[in-house]
Amino acid sequence: MRSVACSAWCRLFQERPFAFLTGDLGFMALEPLRDAMGRFFINAGVAEQNMISVAAGMTRSGIDTWAYSIAPFAYARPFEQIRNDVCLNRLPVRIVGNGGGYAYGVMGPSHHAIEDYGVLLGLQGMAVYVPAFAADVEPAIRTMALDSAPAYLRLGRCEKPAEFQVPAFQPWRLLIDGGGPVLAAVGPLAGALLKRVMVMEPSVRPALWVLSVMPNGLADIPPPLVDAVRSGRVFAVAEEHVAHGGAGQALLAALARRGVAPARFLHFHAVGYPSGRYGSQAFHRQESGIDPDSVLERLAATGSPS
């Protein structure tokens, strides 16, 4: 998604000026943006706290500003700067975290971001964008660019099945309908699940939804999804994020506020590092039980559709 994002920023810069800060990351990816933006592209160095506050100051001076790093360095190290300098000052700084979840695999847990959007969604006015597919990235960036709220963009790896036509980017999309459980996935994990669901028998496969914008998507759950849950079908949420502060908890609460309680709820989420061993993104997904095989096996075991 990163190269797609780079192209999107290059196009956006031709239309409206903005500044782009990177925390010394983007090698073999952001060079075209650097070359296109000239002095508006700033390598802020290995100093993420300063980078976020500088971005807030630049935004306050009147220039739209994006701040980029890999996901854990973008949100965790400078958390107070995001909270105080961006959010409390109500400045629409756009923060980009590349490689959300376990995307950096065997680079190790310091490079993972499995609690990022849960932490950030607790901040005043913060919006979170989690594109599921490469095709989502440019519309997400353009939406963020027009929004007056602080925002966080969690980039990952596009896992779209080759033959799938991606519907237009929205907070919620039904990727494929099915008569089985209702499965809501956050971000790129949806692509990996979709690959498996597409070859299942329609009457038993899950109805697979993808959630890409929070908190709006948490508040505005599509009525067909709500109705499906209300009808008694198993409801499941899959996300490459810890349970605490994740979409699963928030969706359950949102449904409860509507008086809707799932007959059965399954939450597939990151659990951290239970074995103390490390590997690829696929390895960590498997350990957490959020890989497609684990998710679909557990859903099948529920006996749904009832």
Binding site: A19, G45, G57, D85, R90
Partner: protein, 261 residues
């Protein structure tokens, strides 16, 4: 004492009285660090800042000095100051943003203001905007790593539209700066990064107004030697006045020391 200095000292006494009254009526402290930087804030807001300039208070716990200064400029009223530290107020104990143009950022957690100011300065430059960014920070604030990150950044980008005034009062929340984490000589350490640095008496109005100017090709740092609790004899250089409020007797004594020259 020159006419300018005597006029300034009388202004400082008037504003100090108002600051003391505001803190006393609210029953709150943080007075010592307000008084150490009050002269600098008065100089900046009465004699230095132009319309295109921006002021950032990095040591947010000294917002009482900023409120009193803005009162002296007619930007806040007595009614406003009575809301200091109250309920349903915008005059919180650390600055909150978005309610008056002179307070551009919510600050209060130390180590943020210099980066914010550097961002403002770089943003101004990128957009071809005139004006200087003036930032007042504390000396204890230099124990925050982010402040040094900001120094590196400001120097690297040669932000000569950034002027930083450091309130070197030598006392922090729970000890003398030299005892807690000595960085003496701070001026030499900052200068080692290649920025423009000057040291002055932080209560000499002429010196402040002269020193608070743009650097030449680099950000300019003004290390102000100040006295915590300046102008109130029993507060001066006493660490406890970082936090303590005034009782009635102390308040009367403090006011008595602010008679015009």
């Amino acid at each position: 004492m020159s006419n300018f200095q005597s006029e300034f000292e009388n202004l400082a006494r008037v504003v100090r009285r108002r600051l003391l009254r505001m803190h006393h009526e609210s029953g709150v402290g943080h007075i010592g660090g307000n008084l150490s930087c009050l002269d600098a804030l008065l100089c900046l807001h009465h004699a230095v800042l132009k319309e295109s300039d921006v002021f950032v208070l990095s040591k947010g716990h000294a917002v009482g000095a900023l409120y009193a200064t803005l009162w002296s400029r007619g930007r806040l009223s007595d009614d406003d100051l009575r809301k200091f530290h109250g309920e349903n107020t915008q005059l919180a104990a650390h600055p909150v943003a978005g309610w008056m143009p002179e307070i551009v950022f919510a600050t209060g957690s130390l180590g943020h203001g210099l980066s914010l100011s550097a961002g403002l300065a770089l943003g101004k430059r990128l957009q071809g905007q005139e004006g200087q960014v003036y930032c007042v920070c504390s000396d204890g604030e230099w124990q925050e790593g982010s402040t040094w990150e900001a120094l590196i950044f400001a120097h690297h980008h040669q932000l000569d539209n950034l002027t930083v005034l450091v309130d070197v009062n030598g006392l922090q929340g729970f000890g003398a700066t030299s005892d807690v984490a000595s960085m003496a000589d701070l001026q030499t350490r900052i200068a080692a990064f290649g920025v423009e640095v000057v040291g002055i008496d932080g209560h000499d109005a002429e010196a402040i107004c002269t020193a608070a100017r743009p650097g030449v090709g680099q950000p300019r740092f003004v290390l102000m030697r100040t006295v915590k609790g300046r102008g109130v004899s029993f507060m001066e250089n006493r660490m406890e006045w970082h936090y303590l409020p005034l009782d009635d007797r102390q308040y009367e004594q403090a006011l008595a020391e602010q008679e015009p020259l």
